[in-house]
């Protein structure tokens, strides 16, 4: 109990407060957009960033803290989206239950996949996750009960009776889906923070730094890795569920597109793998820069992006927050 109280008290840490502040801002923009359409574009821009942020927060647990490069992590985003959409469109369930089932499905898939691939290390693990994601994508392209290559599209009638803050139907969904995305993000942030501040988190860091030493120190590395992988699947699965509902459709080739997981990895690296603040900053900066490059250099944005990635990894391999933490170790307790 002592440790729980102590862990809860850590939210007074400046990094945690920064996270809470950001979350408050996300909600605020959503509420403003409900009242004034002038804020809708900001809301949508943030929504795009939040999808990436959830992917990054998930990856931060398995990649950042545990050191396993889950290249195919988008598989959990896809599975979350598919499970939710199947329940919403085929069964007419409400979004809240669909989200919970999606999160559970993500974690369950991670448990199954983890049993196969978590024994691999380094690049082998990374490549195995790519292979699994591709195999599962092909499965969904062919699995007719879930639409096969046609995907699942949401009927307007499924949200006809939805009400939210004075809106109804599709318009209510537009507002509510964003608020849910913000909530999912808050959950993912809290998850990251409390893992990082826990004995479990310290065990994960030990695995990342040296798995053999961690095991011989008493860390049940197999159980920890599996648990970390399952937890890391939850934020993308939830985001996938809400995003599919918001978009009103899901297709195999977009739901399981490797781009999102690679962008998530870059976001985590940019800020500093295994740090809370770094993951937040990395994902939001990445998303912002991408929006800028896309609108300013629509044809060369890939090139600029590629150069940026090389430059960051070669000249700032620990990420921004990671670099500061290494350079100024006394700031470690503030910059988490």
């Amino acid at each position: 109990m002592g440790r729980l109280a102590e862990t809860l008290a850590t939210v007074k840490n400046p990094s945690a407060l920064a996270g809470l502040g950001l979350a408050a801002l996300f909600y605020l923009v959503g509420l403003l957009a409900v009242r004034d359409p002038g804020y809708a574009y900001y809301r949508e821009t943030i929504a795009t960033a939040l999808v990436l942020l959830n992917m990054a927060l998930g990856l931060n647990i398995i990649l950042g803290m545990t050191g396993y490069v889950s290249f195919g992590h988008v598989v959990f985003f896809g599975i979350g989206g598919y499970v939710a959409m199947a329940l919403l469109e085929y069964r007419g369930w409400n979004i809240y239950v669909a989200m919970l089932v999606a999160a559970a499905a993500g974690a369950a898939l991670a448990l199954v996949l983890g049993t196969i691939v978590l024994r691999l290390r380094g690049a082998y693990f990374a490549i195995a996750t790519i292979g699994l994601n591709e195999a599962i994508r092909v499965f969904f392209e062919n699995y007719q009960p879930l639409g096969g290559a046609n995907g699942i599209e949401l009927s307007v009638s499924r949200v006809a009776n939805l009400r939210f803050m004075g809106y109804q139907g599709l318009a209510a969904k537009l507002h509510l889906s964003y608020m849910l995305l913000a909530t999912v993000t808050l959950v993912a942030m809290a998850m990251n923070w409390f893992i990082l501040k826990s004995r479990f988190g310290l065990g994960l860091l030990a695995i990342r730094e040296d798995e053999d030493a961690a095991e011989s120190m008493g860390v049940d590395t197999w159980r920890y890795k599996t648990l970390a992988y399952m937890l890391s699947a939850i934020p993308p699965a939830l985001a996938g569920a809400v995003f599919a509902w918001k978009n009103g459709s899901i297709y195999p080739h977009t739901a399981f597109s490797l781009t999102l997981s690679i962008e998530g990895i870059i976001a985590v690296m940019l800020g500093g793998a295994g740090t809370f603040l770094g993951t937040l900053l990395g994902a939001l900066t990445y998303s912002g820069v991408k929006t800028y490059l896309l609108t300013s250099f629509p044809h060369l944005h890939l090139v600029l992006f590629g150069i940026a990635i090389m430059a960051i990894v070669e000249f700032l391999p620990e990420g921004v927050v990671g670099w500061i933490r290494i350079r100024y170790t006394h700031l470690r307790r503030i910059l988490e």
Binding site: G38, V51, N150, S249, H253, T254
Partner: protein
Amino acid sequence: MELVYYDDESTSDRVQQLYTKLITEDKVDFLISPYSSGLTAAAAQVTESYGKIMIATGAASDSIFKKGYTRVYQVYTPASKYMAGAIDMLQQVDPGIKKLAFLFENSKFAKSVATAVKAYAESKGYEIVYEEYYPSGATEFTTYIAQIAQSGAEALLGGGHFQDGQSLAQQLYQQKPPLKAVFILVAPTVPEFADIGDAAVGFMGPSQWEAIAPYSPDQAKTLGLEWYGPTIDEFVNAYKAEYGKEPGYHAAGGYVAGLVLQYALEKAGTTNPDKVKDVLDNMHILTFWGEIQFSSRAEDHGLQVAHERILIQWQKVGGKLERVVVWPAKFAKAQALYPIWG
């Protein structure tokens, strides 16, 4: 009238962001869809929420028009009607043919086309003796062609995108299985199909639109329809003057989306979306693009019901590779090359 547009990067996570920007920041009154059905579905969630009208071009899916939207209108012929002409043509050209092979891409678009044409072909008494869907991006078909050759199929329907369709055509030409006619989606309608040289000859494909299509104000009169907008020659010449090249069907489809809006606004005499919607729900016109009429039924509102597809075939005309219209018979300018490899 002012046109505002953005690059959507062909990913669904950007589409809603940009359509929201168009509606709330740029304050546009009417919208034109992104390219492809998947992106159009995502955009429709936003445009419908704001009660805006969207003209869908480049979106050939049937399914998104069966989801209950009330303000999305499709100018392309839906996927379900893409290949019907191929069956009609076969029936007329060679009533002896009974066995078909299907080799389509496993994508939303090609799968929809295949499902619809399969039902149609079976209703006309055809037997599908080979049916496979290859993964997106596939370019190696030799084994499947060998299987088709053994299956006893007399005609092949297939394809999906340009790259796979072109490779498929080239390999069919190299293997020359005992087929009499081959219909391929998308690839033969693209001018670059000619890059495979003589291998292109004889392949047929359904096209949304061709500059050689035969729509005219005169024809409108015979059909009892209203003609609207430029003639085909006027459109082609204006496009060439502006961009220095022949317009393809993407360009024509984009243009016609604007044309439909223009028509509706003129008729309604206002930008009030409800009034414009009334016009769109009830219009039936002929343009350089062909006939246009939208379903106004609740179960498939906005679906294109009148636009007809034509079949083109690559032939050697005076030693030069050319696309010629071979179907429907009333529009056909040339005799189809049949059977495909002589």
